[in-house]
Subunit: 253 residues, 2 copies
DNA sequence: ATAATAGTGTCTGTTAGACACTATGCT
DNA sequence: AGCATAGTGTCTAACAGACACTATTAT
C-alpha cells in the first residue's frame, strides 16, 4: 500500500443518479428523462447530477429528487406529510469506462413515491416521463438482432435493475410498500402495490388477514372510501412497525 | 438543474474501505489496522485506500483485500478455491466533514472470510489485528464519561456497524454463512457461525434438520471429521442454492 | 464410565395457502 | 338484480420450536 498522500489522489467526478419508482395503472414505473446532449443524446436516462462541493450524498439525492419531481425526501423520523417519498442509498457504480468523457463515480439512490399527477416536463429539465420498468428492462436481456437495444443511457439499465430488485425484495420484510401509497390507503390498494411490484396475483383474503394481523403495521384512520368500487373499505395509514416478521412471502414465479 | 458541464465538476477523492469479518473463538471479529499518520494517529481504522485512476471499485476493494490479508476475492461463479473470501459492496460514505483534510467519498465493501492464521502485520502496512466487533462497537453507543470513546477513526464505527448489520441479516436468507467456514465444514461448525454472528444459542437438533433439509444448500463431501470432538461428523461443502427459503429465523434478542 | 458432539424422531402450536361465505356499496 | 370489492371463517399441510432418545468418538 502506498503511503497516504492526500496531494496525489486521482481526481474523480461524483454524481448521484436516482431510481424513482411508482405504481401507475397496475404497473411498476420508473422516472426517466431524455438526454439533450452527447453522449447518448436523445436517449432516456435516469435523473441525476453532480454532487456539490459541500453537499452530503443523501442531500444531493434529495435535491435532485425535488428538482425532478417536486417530491420531498421523507425523513423516516418525521410523520408522513403531503408529498414525501422514501429515499435510500442504493449502490455505487464506478466502472472507469461507464462515462466516455471522464472518470465518474455515481452513487445511485432509490426513491419510492405514490402515484403522481405527471412529471415536471418543463423548466430546464428535458422531457421526463414515467415508463413501465418492463419496457425499460425486457426480460432476459435484449434480442441479438439489434432491433431493440437497451433504451437507457450509460449503465442505467443495470442501475435500474438493481433498484427494482431492491424494491422487490425489501417490501417482503418491511412496511416499505406503503411508500407507494397515498397517506391513507385501503388494504386492497396496498395489495395492488404488491401485485404490481412483484408481477403476481395475491389472494385478497389471505393478504387481508396477513397485513391486518401484524401488530403495528397498519393503523386504521377511522375513515372509509369507495374509490376502488364495491363495498366501502377501511382507510389505514402506515404504522410504527417498520419490519415485517414473519415476512410477506413472494409467490414462486 | 445546471447544464452538464464536465469541465467544472467539483473534484473528489474516492477511496475504498473494507469491513473484513471472520469468526474466531466463538466471536465475530473485524480486521483493523493502526493508523500511522494524522489525523487519528495511533487509532484503529478499517483497512482501505485510494481507488486508482483506471480501476473499478470492486477491483480496488479486491486489491486492498489481498494487500491486507492475502485473501483472494471469491468470484461467485468460480468454484471454491483455497483462501477465497466473499466480497460485496456495502455502502458509500461521503459526508463533507468525514475527513478533515479534503473531500473524500469512500465506497465501503464487506468481506467475509474463514478463520485465518493471523493478519499480515509486517510489510508497509501498519500493525493489524482481528478485534471482536463487540469491543469496537459497544452496545448502545459509548458512555458519556469520555472514558471509552469509539476506538475507530473517521466514521469507521458507523461503517463497521453497517457491515455487521448487513452480515447479520444476510445470513438469514442466504448461504452466506458458509463464507465464514473452511471449504469443508460440519453442520456444527456452521451452527457456531450463526451463533457467533447473531450472538445467540441455537438448538443443534432443529438447526441440523433445517440446513440438511433444504435442498441444494449443503452437499456432503463423503468425509468425516472429529476436529470438534465427540462423534465423527459429516463434512459438507456449500451447495448451489444461494438463497435460503424459508429463511433461517433469528431468535428474539 | 463419563463427557462431548452428531444425528433422528416425536409432539405441539402457529401459519400460509386454498376457498366458502357474508357484507355493502354502485349501476 | 347483478357485479364489484371488502371482510371473516374454516380446513389442511408445512414448519418452527421444544425436547426425548440413540450413536460414536475421546479421555
Amino acid at each position: 500500500m502506498p503511503p497516504y498522500d492526500p496531494s496525489t489522489f486521482p481526481p474523480f467526478a461524483v454524481t448521484v443518479d436516482l431510481v424513482v419508482l411508482t405504481v401507475r395503472r397496475h404497473a411498476l414505473c420508473a422516472l426517466v428523462v431524455r438526454r439533450g446532449e452527447t453522449p447518448f443524446q436523445g436517449r432516456w436516462a435516469l435523473p441525476g447530477g453532480f454532487v456539490r462541493a459541500d453537499e452530503d450524498l443523501g442531500a444531493a439525492a434529495a435535491r435532485e429528487l425535488v428538482e425532478e419531481t417536486g417530491l420531498c425526501a421523507q425523513d423516516p423520523a418525521a410523520p408522513a406529510v403531503g408529498n414525501g417519498a422514501h429515499l435510500e442509498q442504493l449502490a455505487t457504480y464506478g466502472d472507469p469506462a461507464r462515462d466516455p468523457r471522464m472518470r465518474v463515480v455515481s452513487v445511485a439512490h432509490l426513491a419510492l413515491a405514490p402515484d403522481l399527477p405527471a412529471p415536471r416536463a418543463g423548466g430546464d429539465a428535458n422531457s421526463a416521463r414515467w415508463a413501465p420498468v418492463e419496457d425499460l428492462l425486457p426480460e432476459g436481456g435484449y434480442a441479438p438482432d439489434g432491433e431493440h437495444r437497451a433504451p437507457l443511457a450509460f449503465d442505467h439499465a443495470k442501475i435500474l435493475a438493481d433498484g427494482v430488485e431492491r424494491a422487490r425484495s425489501k417490501i417482503e420484510y418491511s412496511s416499505l410498500a406503503t411508500a407507494f401509497c397515498p397517506p391513507a390507503f385501503t388494504v386492497g390498494e396496498l395489495r395492488r402495490v404488491y401485485e404490481a411490484v412483484w408481477g403476481v396475483v395475491l389472494d385478497p383474503r389471505n393478504f387481508h388477514r396477513k397485513v391486518t394481523g401484524t401488530p403495528g403495521f397498519l393503523v386504521p384512520t377511522g375513515g372509509t372510501t369507495t374509490r376502488q368500487g364495491g363495498r366501502p373499505a377501511q382507510l389505514f395509514r402506515s404504522g410504527t412497525a417498520t419490519v415485517l416478521n414473519p415476512p410477506m412471502l413472494r409467490p414462486e414465479v
